[in-house]
Structure formats: structure tokens, C-alpha cells
Subunit: 314 residues, 2 copies
């Protein structure tokens, strides 16, 4: 049997078929913003799928989405999606496919994926941070995802770095994701370009065009602004990870997503400042801060599909 | 049947007998620092108890202590206790009493007490912050205390307020408990007395003698320094509570302990800044920030004894 995994993002909606081993025989994507109604997106996705796959082989549907409420099956006031208000997303997917579905936020799905297919196999207490356009997080305690009273646990991207800091899309000021995310490092680059006089490859790129990939390439060439930006981003990440750790005392913290692909440029300063900032009581516990074991391209699909194996399989 | 509750503090060790309804027919205290060996403290406590109570009526022993490791039954490197290193506390209590025992950190015990006897009855997701000499915390998710991989979850007193802030007993800088605790508000008072010229009742008290109780009395008399100190302490508390909430999405956060006894002087600014700092996604959820439902004097005993009802009753 197969699971359908759907990952709703502000830019792309990725979907694919996964088996229990994490193999993905088929995957595709649609542009989220092209669908004025989310039901149209689901129909388009079903049509694409039906051409390439026998829908009768599906066990269920797992959905990762921003601001998803696991209990209610809804997506609620997601600022980066084209559909406003509270959407009964899971119920509509079930009607259209005539299959059971589970929805949760994309980072929770990634955390389950890490547990089922990635580096958290066998772990019962860990955290996954997804460093994409924003910063998402999934917290696993005693083997289970933490949803909380209202279904919104794990919004670590909106913990405070500085009360007088950067403005965040959520309406607050100084949120972690304004520093540690693809958008955050871009903001840091522009701050550094303003503060320093050194030449930099990054002076030739517009804000809108500046990607994490490009910043990483510049760092590989020794670009001082790019290196400084990773050092700063890693420092903020490491300090905040030491705060997360004293909450739930995990075995490991995994990072995933575009910014995590920068590898040691980000991880080295993050690990250094994590160790430095960690409460001494935790220092001998060898808590890991490392990259996810999921392939970046597959992670959204296997994450969402692992919801099916976790909650819908018989 | 009765449970023996023991609360090990840096100054006093409180102990008492509680029934399942939270009644405490007997309680007493010993000076922790007078015992060079912790075994002597346990023997002294047993002797005192045996004079006043039939030990055969005990079901088990619950122990709350700083830096307690729930899994190992140990107290590990607690900076405020006279005994150094890793102590097999629970095992030695069991030998001396010939009864089963459970140990956890004092704030975890308080959280269980809140669930069994206090304002968290029927709640499955909540936090308790104990504002004493330090700041302790117990996190309950899905009805269960969170211990984490190594047994040390819930050290929220050591999350970061300011990387360039006050020195903490744990060895770090800028920890929450250096601001929000009986010690923290005392430090704030001294900072304010240095910064302002206004007369204040607090100018006549030495640092060592300055108690939360005295600061509260000064605030009741309209003392500007005392009022400012509560406003500042409440602000830091409220901002950090909004950070805790996005981690585990609780139904309520309860505060307990000496500083919490200041009531609205602390709670009003804390609630204001909690609301202000909270991520908008959580704003309509009516997450409570309020005082514990436990009587301050009874809380350590009923908290520790509730470990027995939770884990040792048949």
C-alpha cells in the first residue's frame, strides 16, 4: 500500500506517493498561488495523480501545511497562503478523495518523517527545525508529537530573539524566524552590506533574487559578508537551541530545509554557540545538533506520508 | 493511607504526611545546611516523623529536590545544597524507610500537586512556574509530566533573557531566574536604587535582608521603587511566558512561590506583557496566566506527596 503525502507551501504545493520504506515512485508539484480556491488545488492534484497512479492503492492522505490545526483538521489564518480564514482542509480532501486524511503543520510532519525514515529512528525525545522561508518546528516527547491544547504547539520560529529586533510576518517583533531562515539570513546580508565597506559578490544581487544557495556559493568562495552572515545566523540558532533544550531535554535537534543545506557554514557556529550557551546541567549529555537524515527533496512528501503510517494504518 | 512528601530546599527541608485529598495531618521542617551528610537528614526526618505518626500507614515517599533526576533517582550537582556530586538519594531513602520512593525536581512535584489538588484539575496541558530563590518549572503535556531524555526537562529558569545580562548561579549569563525570582527582584531593586534618586523605604534595608514580602509591603504603601521593580519583573515574566506558550501550547500557566504571593503587583504587568508578546495565532485561545490553586505553605508537601498517588499507588 501507499500513502499520499501533500505539502502545502506558500510557493509550491508538493505531493507524492510513498511506500512504508520511504520510496517515492511518483511526485509532482503545483503552484499554490495559482489556485484562488483551495478545493481547485485539491482537484488539480487528484487529476494529475490519477493519470500516473492507481488511486485504489492509497491507504490514506497525510498533509503538512502552515498553521494547520491537527485536532480540527483545519488551516487557520496562514499568512503565506492565498486562502484566508479558517479552512476545513482535511474534510474537503477526504470528500474529494474518499479517503481518510490527517493534517498537521509542515514541521510536525517533518519531525514524524525524521522518526520514521531519518536520523531520529529509535529516538523518543527530539526536535526538528525546518529552516525554509520561515522557521518551523516539530517537538517529539516520549515518542509522540506534541500538539498542545489547541493543536498549535511547536511554533519556535516565534520565540523572542530581541524585543527591539526585526519585524515578523506574524505581527510581532524580534521573532527567531526573522534571523534564522532563508528570509532571515537575507535580511542579515543586507544589514551587513549596509554596515561594512568590504567588497562582496552579494552587492550585485537584488534582495528579491538573493537565495540561500547563492549565499552559500559566495561563502564557499570566501566572501566575507556571506561568511559573517552564516556566523551570525549560526550564533543566534545555537543560542536559541540551548533555550529549547532546557524546555524538553531532548536527545537531539535536527535541522532541515534550504538554509540547513549550507551545512557546516551554519552548523559549525551553531554547534559552538549551542555548547557555549547550554545550561551546565545538560553539558555532559551529548545532545546532538545535526542535519536531518531526510533527503531535502523528499522530506516534505515522506514527512506528510508518515502521518498515514503513524495514525491511519491498521 | 498516607504519602510522605519531602521537599529538599537550599535553606529548609520540609516534610509532611498527606492523604489523597491533600489534607496534611502532620508537617515539620529541618535546616538542610545543618546536615553534612544527606543520610543524616533522612534519619533525623524519620525520627521526627516516628514520634508523631505510625510509619506503617505510609504508602510511599515522594521527594521534590533541585537537580533531581527522575530516571536515576539521584540529585546531581545541585549548587544550593550542601552535598556535592551525584547522590543516590531515592535509593537511600528507600533503604532507610523500607518504602518505595519517587524523586523529581521540586517544580515538577509542584506541577503534579497543581494537577491533583490545585487549579489544574482536569487539565492535560499546562505549566507551573515556581518563583522562589530560583525559578523552577514543571511542564505537563497530554496529562503527563515531561521528564525528557535525561530526566531534566523544564529548566525554564535558565532560558535566556539577555546575552549581556546578569550572572546566574548556574554559570551562565542572562538567565530568566536572575530577573524573575525572589533573588531576581532583589537585584532589580538594587539596580533601581542605583538608577533613581527618589526616596524609597527600600533604601533602609540591606541586600541580604531584603525579602519579597518586604518589597510587597513597600509596594502596598506606594513606594515607587518597589512598584517599578514589580512592573519590570512582571514584564520580563510575561514576555517569557509568551515564549513558553509557543513551545507546547498549554491551556494555562500557573505561578507559585514567594514572589507569586505578591499577587496583582506581579500578575497585572505579567498578564499585560504576556498578551502583548503572544504570537497572534494563540491570541484567541484564552490561555490563562494565573496563581496556583495550592496554599503556599502546603504546596511543597502536597506536591511531593502527589508523586506517590501518581506513580506508586496500586
Amino acid at each position: 500500500m501507499y500513502a499520499l503525502g501533500i505539502d502545502i507551501g506558500g510557493t509550491n504545493t508538493k505531493f507524492g506517493i510513498a511506500d512504508e520504506k520511504g520510496n517515492i515512485p511518483y511526485q509532482a508539484r503545483l503552484k499554490t498561488q495559482e489556485f484562488a480556491e483551495y478545493a481547485d488545488l485539491i482537484y488539480a492534484l487528484k487529476n494529475d495523480l490519477a493519470k500516473n497512479f492507481n488511486l485504489k492503492d492509497l491507504q490514506g492522505i497525510g498533509i503538512g501545511a502552515p498553521n494547520a490545526n491537527y485536532y480540527a483538521g483545519t488551516i487557520e489564518h496562514a499568512p503565506n497562503l492565498p486562502w484566508k480564514g479558517i479552512l476545513p482542509f482535511s474534510a474537503d480532501v477526504e470528500k474529494i478523495f474518499e479517503l481518510k486524511s490527517i493534517i498537521t503543520n509542515d514541521a510536525n510532519a517533518a519531525a514524524l518523517g525524521e522518526q520514521v525514515y531519518g536520523n531520529a529512528k529509535g529516538m523518543k525525545d527530539f526536535l526538528v527545525l525546518t529552516l525554509g522561508t520561515g522557521l518551523g518546528s516539530g517537538i517529539v516527547i516520549n515518542g509522540d508529537l506534541v500538539y498542545g491544547k489547541h493543536g498549535f504547539a511547536g511554533e519556535l520560529g516565534h520565540t523572542l530573539v530581541s524585543a527591539t529586533g526585526r519585524h515578523c510576518a506574524c505581527g510581532k517583533v524580534g521573532c527567531l524566524e526573522t534571523y534564522v531562515s532563508a528570509t532571515g539570513i537575507r535580511r542579515t546580508i543586507y544589514k551587513l552590506l549596509a554596515d561594512y565597506t568590504e567588497p562582496s559578490l552579494l552587492r550585485g544581487v537584488s534582495y528579491d533574487e538573493l537565495s540561500t544557495h547563492y549565499i552559500t556559493e559566495a561563502a564557499q568562495k570566501g566572501d566575507m559578508i556571506a561568511l559573517k552572515a552564516f556566523e551570525y545566523t549560526g550564533r543566534v540558532l545555537g543560542m536559541k537551541v540551548s533555550d529549547f533544550v532546557v524546555h524538553t531535554d531532548p536527545e537531539a535537534v535536527f535541522i532541515l530545509g534550504g538554509l540547513a543545506n549550507a551545512g557546516d557554514f551554519l552548523l559549525k557556529p551553531a554547534q559552538l554557540h549551542f555548547e557555549k550557551s547550554l545550561m551546565p546541567l545538560f553539558k555532559d549529555r551529548q545532545i546532538l545538533l545535526q542535519r536531518s537524515g531526510l533527503k531535502a527533496d523528499d522530506a516534505p512528501i515522506v514527512g506528510a506520508s508518515s502521518l498515514v503510517w503513524k495514525y491511519l494504518s491498521v
